[in-house]
């Protein structure tokens, strides 16, 4: 049996009071061993910040395992759940505190799965933020290989002194590659 999926709709302007909760963006506490910052800006087609977006991340643990622990809404401060949610601020910036994801398959290029919601965005967008650095793994990645070379960089985070930076451009120059996972 194949059913037709229900259409999505915009998250609208007034989601923060429902979807944004304390600790949602801190997958691990500040100062946790190995904690990194995963941050970036959401930008519109004019290059302006999108201050009313919501970004969610879902990732493997540093050892590549897929976390099957609850507690993302009420964190206990010890359990890494792999999932987080952060609103953008006035400058369009979202910021997570998390751990570097490992590869779920040995040798694969590790990445953070990213979902973007915003006022003005009629349906959610899905993308990937690959961990930079391992050029051999990135070069062998099937998804990256399937994307035209000029746009590949939009899927790879850059490193800074605290962790990774991943800007999301909804439209225009450097438009992020967004993914469609529907089965054929």
């Amino acid at each position: 049996m194949t059913l037709v999926p229900t259409p999505g709709q915009t998250v609208g302007p007034f989601f923060a009071f429902a979807l944004v909760h304390d600790g949602g963006a801190e997958l691990v506490p500040h100062g946790h061993p190995g904690a990194i910052r995963f941050t970036g800006r959401v930008l519109d087609g004019a290059g302006d910040p999108v201050p009313d977006a919501l970004v969610e991340i879902w990732q493997a643990a540093p050892d590549g395992s897929v976390v099957r622990a609850p507690g993302s809404l009420h964190r206990d401060g010890f359990t890494f759940t792999g999932w987080g949610r952060a609103p953008t601020d006035r400058s369009g910036r979202y910021t997570f505190t998390t751990l570097t994801p490992g590869a779920t398959t040995p040798g694969a290029a590790p990445y953070v799965a990213v979902t973007v919601f915003a006022r003005g965005l009629l349906d959610r967008l899905l993308t990937r933020a690959y961990v930079p650095g391992d050029d051999a793994a990135l070069g062998a990645d099937p998804l990256l290989a399937s994307v035209e070379e000029a746009r590949r960089a939009t899927l790879v985070a850059t490193a800074d002194e605290h962790g990774f930076v991943f800007d999301i451009r909804l439209q225009g120059d450097g438009e992020t590659v967004f993914l469609d996972h529907r089965r054929d």
Binding site: V4, Q9, T10, L73, L121, L122
Partner: protein, 255 residues
């Protein structure tokens, strides 16, 4: 002088929507989902991708979903009328339904989040400027986990329609926002549930951004007298279908 979006009339926006609907009807194609590029929704103009989505088979983490459990949800969060000391104003209602994947299987023990305006069409959100009363007994946020059958259930107050600034005299049809997770990350979605027979449907660019009539109707709940409770609450039923999953049956058994 150019006209700002806020000065444009409903007639101007409706004419654009009618033209898009007519073009769709003439195209002999079938669109089941919401368009990202729908200019009558003015806020979408600079916020929709202009390039096609890139088809990708999900891998690794994408084949799994975050886990939510008892520690994440208080069972009282499913009743939005019990979150304060007094009764909220408005029509008490129940809304229930099932979350299914594209193969018709129930999505079990997964998080459902809702948020909405109060009976007067006012959100608690600090940036809501609509001059309708805030109800001190209603916040408008609910959460629950689906049961083993994929069923969610909330008790709430029927939300009112509210004005917004897409154009002059723009009003949103009454709706409840829903946030859903599936059994894999690719199924993540946020949508809105509407009420049957709303006269604002034809005027609303967010609803009409689903250009296919039967696809739009998938967002409209059904009044269900079997959900209605004697001398207590009216009842609505609304089932939600997520996209199909990619994991094999063996992996399903392990999860």
């Amino acid at each position: 002088m150019t006209q700002t979006h806020a000065e444009q009339t409903q007639a101007q926006v409706s004419a654009e929507m009618t033209a898009l609907t007519e073009a769709y009807d003439a195209s002999a194609t079938v669109e089941t989902q919401t368009r990202l590029d729908y200019p009558p929704y003015r806020s979408s103009l600079l916020r929709h991708p202009t390039k096609d989505l890139h088809h990708a088979d999900p891998e690794g983490i994408e084949l799994w979903s975050p886990v939510f459990g008892e520690r994440d949800i208080d069972p009282l969060e499913a009743d939005l009328t019990l979150q304060h000391d007094g009764e909220p104003i408005g029509e008490r209602m129940k809304v229930t339904g099932r979350v299914l994947d594209g193969d018709g299987r129930p999505v079990r023990h997964q998080l459902v989040e809702i948020w909405q305006a109060n009976a007067g069409g006012r959100y608690v959100h600090k940036r809501d400027q609509h001059p309708a009363a805030i109800d001190p007994h209603f916040t408008g946020v609910g959460r629950c986990l689906t049961d083993a059958d994929g069923t969610y259930s909330f008790t709430t107050i029927k939300p009112g329609p509210y004005p917004w600034r897409n154009h002059r005299n723009a009003w949103r049809p009454a709706h409840i926002h829903f946030s859903l997770f599936g059994s894999e990350f690719t199924q993540r979605m946020v949508t809105q549930m509407y009420f049957p027979g709303d006269p604002l449907f034809a005027l609303d660019p967010i609803f009409q951004a689903i250009v296919d009539r039967s696809a739009r109707e998938r967002l409209v709940a059904a009044y269900d007298h079997d959900v209605t409770e004697h001398e207590w609450a009216t009842g609505y039923r609304w089932d939600i279908v997520l996209t199909g999953t990619h994991r094999t049956p063996l992996e399903e058994d392990e999860s």
